[in-house]
């Protein structure tokens, strides 16, 4: 390596030696309590039978959720982990609608603390394996909200207050 390249290499590594440890430690320290769910995180793989969600299971709760002109049918199923099923008889009139869960009791202004559950695109049965944090909330007096989000408009289109499993007397 010629001397000018060696010098550049030294400067570059010194800069990275300062920048990267700072980045790493900051990223670990500032981790949110509820892990943000990315598109490749576990719950999305339960969608569309790709993640091993099965058709059978013990039905814990059934509910209806009116969204736009459609009535979404919801089911909470234990199979063997907690699953949410949403059945849309026809596609929603939204580009790539996404389903989130929020621990709040009213629709939040931002999705920063909400959990992404998966996509609601297209008609048919959508299955979501619920993260443990949602399962715990469902068994508490504050089960939280389901949020339907339009990523294109960056807004919450509809929300639905989930019933508590502890109030219904049926415990998973």
């Amino acid at each position: 390596m010629i001397s000018s390249r060696r010098q550049t290499h030294r400067w570059l590594m010194t800069a990275l030696g300062v920048l990267l440890p700072w980045l790493a430690v900051s990223a670990l320290v500032q981790r949110p309590e509820i892990p943000p769910v990315t598109a490749t995180a576990a719950p999305l793989f339960a969608r569309a039978d790709l993640g091993g969600a099965t058709a059978e299971g013990a039905l814990l709760l059934a509910f209806d959720w009116p969204v736009q002109d459609t009535q979404l049918k919801g089911q909470l199923v234990l199979d063997p982990t907690l699953q949410l099923r949403l059945i849309a008889e026809e596609p929603l009139n939204l580009a790539d609608p996404l389903l989130y869960w929020s621990s709040t009791d009213r629709s939040p202004e931002s999705l920063a603390q909400a959990q992404l559950l998966g996509s609601l695109a297209g008609a048919g049965t959508h299955r979501y394996r619920l993260p443990m944090v949602v399962g715990r909330a469902l068994r508490s007096p504050q089960p939280g909200l389901l949020l339907l989000v339009s990523p294109l408009d960056q807004r919450i289109v509809a929300s639905w207050t989930l019933p508590s499993l502890s109030a219904g007397g049926e415990r998973p």
């Binding site: 390249r5 030294r10 990267l20 980045l23 949110p32 943000p36 790539d96 990523p151």
Partner: protein, 365 residues
């Protein structure tokens, strides 16, 4: 005048190197998937095989990138690692391929099968890569989703780590695409090395990608410790080897009024080896063969490797990086090769050895 294309010249050594590389990567991927299956079975939960495959390929690329970037400084610190330098570029290409599979998956495209009203056949172990999951097979292009689904640019923990991954992969692509000697010869070694130094920018982007991505969703302290250890290791060996180089570069020798530079007592130069000096902004390797001394530029014409760390075989110094050879007397490669490096006049007087400036121009055999 441009350099003609010459296909990769496979030697037994290269085949062994690549064989070990392929076997190692395959073993890692199989082990990762095997342990994932075993773990899921033990916990009695269904395994998300696509998710496990994405993590397997991503982690394989990240680990291999660390190994690849470790070879350079390790070879500076200990000549034993020169063997690994020999075909390091193939490791870099493998890092890019693994990263690409992490993003794209391993499956045939829908077309032309869809034109015939059929589904594309499945590869063994095929899976959908990370990009396919953006918008979860919705009706928007995944690439559009990738760049628009996360707009938290002002939030550190929620920063769109995907963009950092794109930057890292783009840099790795440039490295892989220009890795062939065709580019090295046409661009010249200094320019080629300068371009390939961007790999550190790519590495920084990928560190950000992992810390702001995978380590935000997977909060295992063991995983964080492992990734942190990799970062500390790589920075430490680069800084230590860089510091050792700086010790040599920081004390350049100056010629006297007659143009000669005193390199010290003859006995300080070990027989059959070389000693490297910083001189006139570059490095000079002074070789001793019994009572004879030869001074050559320390910079190999191939990839600017350190000739002073090479062995002397049949009167030629062999570059420790890729085996390029130069005659000690003339600095020229033996025929049919045409590379050559500058040499310096040497004289021994009163038990001390001196070299003269300016250097003799490179002379072909």
């Amino acid at each position: 005048m441009s350099h003609g294309y010459v296909a990769v010249q496979w030697t037994r050594r290269k085949l062994i190197y690549d064989g070990v590389l392929l076997a190692g990567v395959s073993a890692y991927l199989l082990l990762f998937m095997g342990i994932s299956h075993w773990w899921a079975a033990a916990a009695n939960v269904p395994l998300e095989t696509d998710g496990a495959a994405i993590r397997a390929y991503g982690s394989a690329a990240y680990i291999l990138l660390h190994l690849t970037l470790s070879i350079g400084p390790l070879a500076r610190l200990n000549p034993l690692f020169h063997t690994l330098l020999f075909n390091r570029r193939h490791m870099g290409v493998m890092v890019f391929l693994l990263g690409f599979l992490h993003v794209n998956g391993w499956h045939l495209p829908k077309e032309p099968w869809s034109w015939l009203g059929q589904k594309a056949p499945q590869f063994p172990w095929s899976f959908h890569g990370a990009l396919n999951w953006y918008n979860d097979f919705g009706n928007r292009e995944p690439l559009v989703s990738l760049f628009t689904s996360n707009g938290h640019f002002n939030d550190f923990a929620l920063f769109p780590f995907e963009l950092l991954g794109v930057i890292g992969l783009a840099v790795l692509f440039v490295m892989a695409a220009t890795s062939h000697d065709f580019w090295l010869t046409n661009l010249t070694a200094p320019v080629w090395k300068a371009i390939h130094m961007a790999v550190y920018v790519g590495y920084a982007a990928l560190v950000g990608h992992v810390f702001l991505g995978a380590l935000q969703t997977n909060q295992s302290p063991w995983l964080a410790a492992l990734v942190l250890a990799g970062l500390v290791w790589l920075l430490a060996i680069h800084l230590i080897s860089g510091w050792r180089e700086w010790v040599i570069d920081g004390r350049p020798l100056q010629p006297d009024s007659t143009g000669w530079v005193d390199l010290g007592p003859i006995d300080a130069i070990p027989d059959g080896r070389a000693k490297v000096f910083a001189l006139a902004g570059e490095r000079v390797a002074l070789f001793r063969q019994g009572s004879e001394f030869f001074a050559l530029s320390n910079v190999c014409q191939h990839q600017n490797g350190p000739l002073g760390e090479g062995r002397v075989v049949n009167g030629c110094v062999v570059c420790p990086w890729h085996g390029y050879e130069y005659r000690l007397e003339t600095g020229a490669s033996p025929p049919p090769f045409t590379e050559c490096v500058p040499t310096f006049p040497v004289e021994c007087r009163q038990g001390r050895v001196r070299i003269g400036l300016p250097p003799r121009p490179p002379q072909q055999a």
